[in-house]
Symmetry: C2
Subunit: 462 residues, 2 copies
């Protein structure tokens, strides 16, 4: 057994690879792997090629797994010994859309701009920066001779709800056998306190559409007799939930919700979460509540319905007095443990049929909520690695976001899934001016290297 990893040496490793890391991150960020927009199909292909090349340059054996449709998933094997434990690092290399035309980006979203220790650009923190930090952590562990088999599983459809991921890993389950999975795609509560997510919310995206005509009409000529599809969709939305309180109104929605336990709530209260910090990080001006526990319950422990956008009608300067012929509302639910997306789909369809049967519903990505293991050797190893790298004890919190792939991994690979997230609230997940920084990147390299060693040192239980 090699001597234990040294913290200073690992940070020196990080420092000496900083330029290389930044150059590689820039290359990945500037490959605009937007999975939701077919116009970026070529970028996705380029991103897959870049991933394969990168893994090979790091010395990995690479497999590209394809489903019948959709984007591939790349698996890279960095094995050191047959009897060593295997750990698989999951990340996703696709990103959210971004546009400087319609969103307030200070820099070009698909050009990585470095300002001091910060890296700006779409995908820097979600999830390319953390992915590459984990990759350098693996290199550090391997160069130090840590006896562990490290695998990487990088997906390209996470941002659209991983529609093909479960099929892909099911088909290749044998090659993907692993003792555990670690995911680096979640956000700390604050920079001062490392946090590991013990749960995620699920997601059910959907588009409501209504067509009442074939062309814009003059509201003077038809208004009153014509049906206004934007306005009717507004009414339907308000029939489905109350946008002011956030309460979902249709039958059955809350039936299966498992609320957070008292002990979980207690952990959250002690997590260092502050409403002030949360508002600042997300640039919020007005909130539904400013009570600390109530806010955490709302973002981590309770489901939500959100309206993301309305397509249709006039959006230019001033008012153009038309009645549009069709409209579309883009919406989603975030779900919590206990809620089954398939059951919610049926309840939603029934509610819409009852309230406005002319409205069509198209479902988008669906994933149930996820809860991880909180006890046993792995969570303890993770906590030690995080404390080693960042100098402070990690707290187990939750993340209100969704990684659909998590449920699939647990189901297909039948192993524990833990989170070693590196992102901070101020990094702006899914937002304009998304960024990552060197503190979190270098700390991430050290934490991953140490976590690999911790796993290598765990007593074998087979």
């Amino acid at each position: 057994m090699p001597s234990a990893l040294d913290r200073n040496q690992l940070y020196s490793f990080a420092k000496s690879h900083r330029k290389e890391y930044e150059t590689l991150l820039k290359t990945f960020v500037e490959t605009a792997t937007v999975s939701s927009d077919p116009a970026h199909a070529e970028d996705i292909r380029a991103g897959v090629d870049l991933t394969v090349d990168t893994f090979r340059q790091f010395g990995g054996k690479v497999d590209v797994y394809k489903a019948d449709r959709g984007n591939p998933t790349v698996h890279a094997i960095f094995d050191s010994a047959k009897n060593a434990p295997t750990v698989t690092v999951y990340n996703h290399m696709d990103v959210q859309p971004a546009s400087k035309e319609t969103e307030p980006w200070d820099t070009e979203p698909f050009v990585m701009t470095t300002k001091g220790d910060s890296y700006f650009g779409r995908g820097t923190t979600d999830d390319k920066g953390p992915a590459l930090a984990a990759l350098y952590g693996a290199r550090a562990a391997q160069e130090a001779g840590v006896p562990i088999n490290i695998r990487f599983l990088w997906e390209f459809e996470e941002e659209i709800g991983s529609p093909n991921f479960e099929k892909i890993i099911s088909k290749n389950a044998r090659d993907l056998q692993t003792n555990s999975v670690v995911v680096s795609d979640t956000v700390w509560v604050s920079r001062d306190r490392p946090a590991s997510s013990a749960g995620l919310r699920g997601l059910l995206g959907f588009i409501l559409s209504l067509e009442t005509g074939a062309t814009d009409t003059h509201s003077g000529e038809t208004g009153g007799a014509s049906r206004n599809p934007i306005a009717e969709l507004m009414r339907l939305v308000c029939d489905l939930y109350d946008p002011v309180t956030g309460k979902i109104k249709f039958k059955g929605f809350y039936d299966d919700v498992i609320p957070p336990s008292k002990s979980e709530l207690n952990d959250w209260v002690n997590s260092g979460f502050t409403v002030k910090g949360f508002k600042k990080a997300h640039h919020l001006k007005l909130m539904r509540s400013e009570d600390q526990l109530e806010v955490m319950k709302r973002i981590w422990g309770m489901p939500t319905m959100e309206i993301h956008g309305v397509v249709g009608g006039y959006q230019g300067p001033g008012v153009k007095s038309i009645v549009p012929p069709r409209a579309e509302v883009k919406a989603s639910f975030r779900l919590v443990p206990g809620q089954d997306p398939e059951k919610i789909k049926k309840q939603l369809l029934a509610a819409i049929k009852e309230r406005n049967p002319d409205v069509k519903v198209q479902f988008e990505s669906a994933a149930p909520a996820f809860r991880t293991v909180l006890t046993g050797p792995l969570p303890q190893a993770l906590k030690r690695a995080i404390k080693f790298a960042f100098g402070r004890e990690a707290v187990f919190v939750r993340d209100g976001g969704t990684i659909g792939a998590m449920t699939s991994i647990e189901k297909v690979l039948r192993c524990p899934v833990l989170f070693l997230g590196l992102s901070l609230p101020e990094h702006g997940y899914h937002a304009p001016n998304e960024n990552f920084d060197w503190q979190q990147a270098s700390g991430g390299m050290v934490a991953f290297a140490k976590y690999f060693e911790e796993i290598a040192n765990l007593p074998k239980n087979d």
Copy 2:
């Protein structure tokens, strides 16, 4: 007194000027005089210059009236004799916005495309085609020696509710003195039956906006605690009116409505209006009612609230799970006789303050409803001219649209205002594929020439 105008000769006049009319209409249509969009300021200036040049080429004495702000109004004088009666023809030369990118235009909106007898392009029917038909009608009357003083008053801010028109005509009221005004900016009920509008609905445009943050946030990270401005505006809209029934809910809105009289309703029923024709003309698939009288009541006799568009959030492919920081709803009321826009503004502000005080309201164009005279020599002269040109008796109906300038004309110039509209439902006012046609243009030339003669022949009452 010259011999009475001959119908065949007038139609020959029209025919021999067809090419000239079409060329001139093309020039006007291809000057994109969009008054609601500051980006078209240069086009407005070009449209004013074109108007001045055109009137001069027709032999008119031209004045360009400017207000402190906004677009000018052009007045052209074609006087034949000091003792002859004066009639002023009002039209507007600004147009609605149009975009082939976002609307289903088959042709370029600002290129006039002739297909058979039809002219496609923004402004062909609203209101450049009818305006130029009236101008050729005046030339025909003058060439035939009809003793009448004809004036033209062409506005460039009608589509934004004529915000400066009343100031302009008040300032120049002396020069604008006239015995009556005739307006050609309304729509027949069907091609088979000429119709003159006896009333218009008013308009009150407004924009609701709400800002709850500074940037898009990830609905997983903030959803539940953050306020969703699009959704809250939806709720406010539904608090203000019921988008399904169309019923406005806030206090006082219907208080001053003067419903159409029984005899008016009787005229409407006999106007040749059919729900089938209305649906076809406006390409409507679904309506609030398919009952003939109910539909006419809804579009001519009752006010309406409409949502024209929602700005904010995500509108690309699929669903992007963000909570937007701000949103804007573009809306308006069409008002009916009795309703005072200023009073409605106050009622609306009170309702919004009570329901969602964080929402800001910006009012756009405002104009009360308008009713014309239905009895006396002028309406009779108008009916005779229309029958002469189109071969059928005209009916007096209403138009659900708004021409804000009408109330100003009546108030400032203190004279009767009548309507000699030439547009048809299938011409698509404010819609993609707006068009006008030669039948209506040539009939319009004849009808205007005859109306000028009819007025010249009326006994003097001073």
